[in-house]
Symmetry: C2
Subunit: 341 residues, 2 copies
């Protein structure tokens, strides 16, 4: 789970000065990976998690000193063989590079644009050109639609798409610029669409929204599909499946779970959903029932039934955990996508 969405919301609306800390490079094992970020506000309030608790205090101190100045790169070497060091103490065993950037008015404006794009379902890439001491000399945001914004003097490197196409966030040496570039792909919140608002939808929606998903719940019964039962959902759609499906513009990265517990509703929905290009369609019930839903055709690869990891889950809450475990596993497996072909 990324905290970037929460960080962007706070950074662009709160009047406080703040520093953005981003892990840009990890050697060895670490609690968080490249791209993990934390916002440190001038009064010490923080949003996001960048380590298991060992680096936070040090970063807060450094951030306070930085509130006006240039960006800065901090290197934490946790590889030391000394068991008493705070590094190993924290259970890490690597070298972590963290970039600290003061959020000035220009960067705030760009982060606000980034936030809008993500909320509208767009992927956004960033290149940060690192100069001496790994401070940021240029940065450029761009989307697959070729929108660009940022602070970039001079020519943009030609391999920009190739650079962005790399799977992982991290540092790349760019010959053309004779410097390191930090590359990151920001993605919209993963979306979970739940059809059926019964007892098993409640913990699934709750756990999913707490784990960083944007949740939509749809059911034709207002007594079930309401804000009291689903306080964390981003959207409720009170409608029969057929109508609800027309109200949603599906994306290839959407996760969908069918919990209507009604054969005909599920059948109708499944037919509609199979016409879409979806990352995941989870169907509650046995594999045999799902086959009958499909009219005995083969179960397509993106249809998961029984839904959730096979951990022997019993009851709504445990099943919700098993589904989320499956979604997290799948989120990590996305294949590289082409950019600006």
């Amino acid at each position: 789970m990324d905290y970037i969405h929460e960080i962007l919301k706070i950074a662009t609306t709160e009047p406080k000065k703040a520093v953005l800390a981003t892990i840009i490079d990890v050697e060895g094992s670490a609690y968080r990976k490249e791209g993990a970020a934390m916002l440190i506000q001038e009064d010490g309030e923080t949003i996001g998690v960048i380590s298991g608790g060992c680096l936070e205090n040090d970063l807060q101190e450094r951030a306070k000193l930085l509130l006006e100045g240039e960006s800065q790169c901090i290197v934490y070497d946790l590889k030391s063989e000394d068991d008493l060091s705070w590094g190993k103490g924290a259970g890490c065993n690597g070298v972590i590079r963290i970039l600290l950037e003061c959020i000035d008015d220009r960067l705030r404006k760009h982060l606000s644009r980034l936030h809008d794009l993500l909320q509208n379902g767009k992927d956004v890439f960033i290149l940060k050109q690192l100069g001496k001491n790994f401070s940021v000399s240029n940065y450029l945001f761009f989307t697959e639609d070729t929108e660009t914004f940022g602070e970039w003097a001079g020519a943009v490197p030609k391999q920009i798409d190739a650079i962005a196409a790399q799977e992982k966030s991290g540092l790349v040496w760019v010959n053309e610029l004779s410097s390191y570039v930090y590359v990151q792909r920001f993605e919209p919140k993963p979306r979970l669409i739940i059809f059926g608002a019964g007892s098993d939808a409640v913990p699934l929606s709750h756990f999913a929204s707490r784990t960083g998903f944007s949740v939509i719940v749809s059911d034709w019964r207002e007594a079930l599909c309401n804000r009291w039962r689903f306080p964390g959902a981003d959207q409720l759609i009170i409608a029969f499946p057929r109508e609800a499906a027309t109200k949603i513009s599906f994306s290839p990265r959407d996760f969908v779970v069918l919990l209507t517990h009604q054969f005909q509703q599920d059948q109708e929905l499944l037919k509609l959903l199979l016409q879409q290009n979806l990352r995941y369609i989870g169907v509650i019930g046995s594999k045999e029932r799902t086959k009958r839903l499909l009219g005995d055709q083969e179960i397509p690869r993106n249809v998961h039934s029984p839904v959730g990891l096979s951990i022997g889950a019993e009851g709504p809450e445990e099943i919700a955990i098993s589904i989320l475990a499956e979604l997290i596993q799948l989120k990590k497996l996305r294949s590289p996508q082409k950019v600006r072909a």
Copy 2:
């Protein structure tokens, strides 16, 4: 997850009349298994989940009629080949037998005793002798300590321990009684003890308590270990690991997770915990770090490191889901235990 603990709390404290519905037998596939229970109060309020939503309304109607009378067994046959039936519609494909019992003053008193025993960490077994029409003619609660209570006329069957020793809840034919007996083992809430109250402990405690675990959180820093951060925890222990470990009477079914992120604290804790007989000791960090914690001895079988199912979890919330998925999986695997040897 069982709702039995919540059901017992409500059934024994609220003044409303109520009916207890228990699944006593399942043929084929069903949403819930034998032992799943639901409380139906006289005014229609329900606690617990017994199906995916298809049986609840019918049960509520029947419960209302029963509020004074004898217990009753309902059979729902969801095997019909008719696709339009509500049975298959609900995604089930089996026969479910549900026992409805009106909670009178005597049963309420016994359920109250059952609740106390479970809260004190005891397993409790129940035998319900079923007469004609599968109504309950006798019932007996008993513990491994040979405490017994209930309403049982005549001799208790000799094979009582053998009957209770069966892994699954369900119906058994007892020759000695010339009748069916429903057997169920009630277990205390599974307990999760978390050492370390940092950012990753918060979602773990929250998800675990929502999924039916009784949660204890311990940390030496009151600023981290407090009710504001852990509203769902049953107990907080503000103390250093060494002291905290002496405050807890561990049981062989306890799950423990080490999240202190401090090498020395973890090392000290691990030494203490390995002297206990525990179901699960999860240690955050890499396998290599855990080996160093153990002084390079073999990692014992009940020590899980890295902690959680391997689903590529990133950040506190996802890691919490991966840990819970692992705990649920282990909960199901308990081997049969001897009773009243």
